[in-house]
Symmetry: C2
Subunit: 212 residues, 2 copies
């Protein structure tokens, strides 16, 4: 049975909040609800308005690798050529705007500004992917967790205070670790006085001097 997003199509918004000639449809996705599946025809591209979206691939035996988390303002599904190469779903409740691909292409051929914006977003996604590749291939468990927190702090943190919307399993599947290892790294950082956990989902960094 396919779940239809609540309030689907109730509002229209401009891409990046500035391309008013290109309107998208807003949908509200429930926790764990799928936005698109790997291999489906790539009909649209998306912008996160609220909440968090995860993008991942699965192996046949169930192993999962999360390629990226997307937050407010991020564009995803941009890696489209013909078909989506990942599955995307909502981490918690998420508000997402969708833009039909053909309309985006048409609008981009009319507007140099939009074309540049799309280019920059695609470049940003590739940048992130390459940082992620470095992290996955060459960093230790501690470095991975540190890097993750630094990234989260940069993107959503306020003065070193980070709210983690995802579970330890999500973080582990993003970092190529197990949830136990993620938990141990966080505990160790706390023991070393480098952070403070208030509940499992609230982190306060001691040294905000963490860079990607």
């Amino acid at each position: 049975m396919i779940t239809i997003p609540k309030n689907s199509g109730t509002k229209a918004v401009a891409l990046f909040g500035r391309h008013h000639d290109l309107l998208g449809v807003v949908s509200i996705y429930q926790p764990d609800q799928e936005i698109y599946g790997e291999g489906e025809p790539a009909k649209a591209l998306f912008e996160v308005l609220r909440g968090v979206v995860r993008k991942y691939k699965l192996l046949e035996d169930g192993r999962r690798q999360i390629a990226a988390f997307h937050f407010k303002g991020d564009v995803f599904g941009l890696e489209l050529d013909e078909r989506y190469s990942t599955t995307a779903d909502a981490v918690g409740t998420a508000h997402v705007a969708s833009f039909r691909r053909d309309k985006v292409v048409a609008a981009a051929s009319q507007s140099l500004e939009l074309a540049r914006d799309l280019w920059a977003r695609a470049a940003l996604n590739l940048d992130h992917a390459q940082c992620h590749i470095l992290l996955l291939g060459r960093k230790t468990a501690m470095e991975k967790v540190e890097g993750f927190l630094a990234d989260m702090n940069q993107r959503t943190g306020r003065a070193g205070r980070i709210n983690l919307p995802m579970t330890r399993l999500d973080i582990a599947d993003f970092l190529g670790l197990t949830l136990e290892t993620v938990s141990r790294c966080l505990s160790r950082m706390q023991d070393d006085g480098r952070l403070c956990l208030s509940g499992a989902r609230k982190v306060a960094l001691r040294q905000s001097t963490m860079v990607c």
Copy 2:
């Protein structure tokens, strides 16, 4: 001292061999010669005409992660926004065409076909990156090596016969392993009768039924 590529600027070629309104300069790079460095202003984008190019990031302590190998026909440096996010250099001797970014952008705004081509190439690069992320984060050493060989076979192989232009260290730095582990996996595959090594750089796959 900066080495200048041999025969720099001796010829001009069209991007993808089909956009004749956009001409690039051909340079021949010597083995290990740098094409661009991480952090440099992204002035141009490149197409491999001959040979192999590797794209990588380094950590301060010298650990290296190769993000991609590029072969004939591949476009790289496309992840540019302002500055290159990786370093690119020649694996062996490589012939590379460079195209100034401003000219590409200008030409793309005139030609829908070129714009689509660039879009498709960017999407392809992101696709590759996401497959690589899955491989690095969730596959075992054996699966990584198998996946690498399958990929190489698909891109450069002729009926299961693969020529490896790069060293075991390059492969290891691509797969997030050590060169010893790569060597052991290849030996084990040979012992299991799944491939045949003629010298270290020539591989014959038994079952070409390997998919990415």
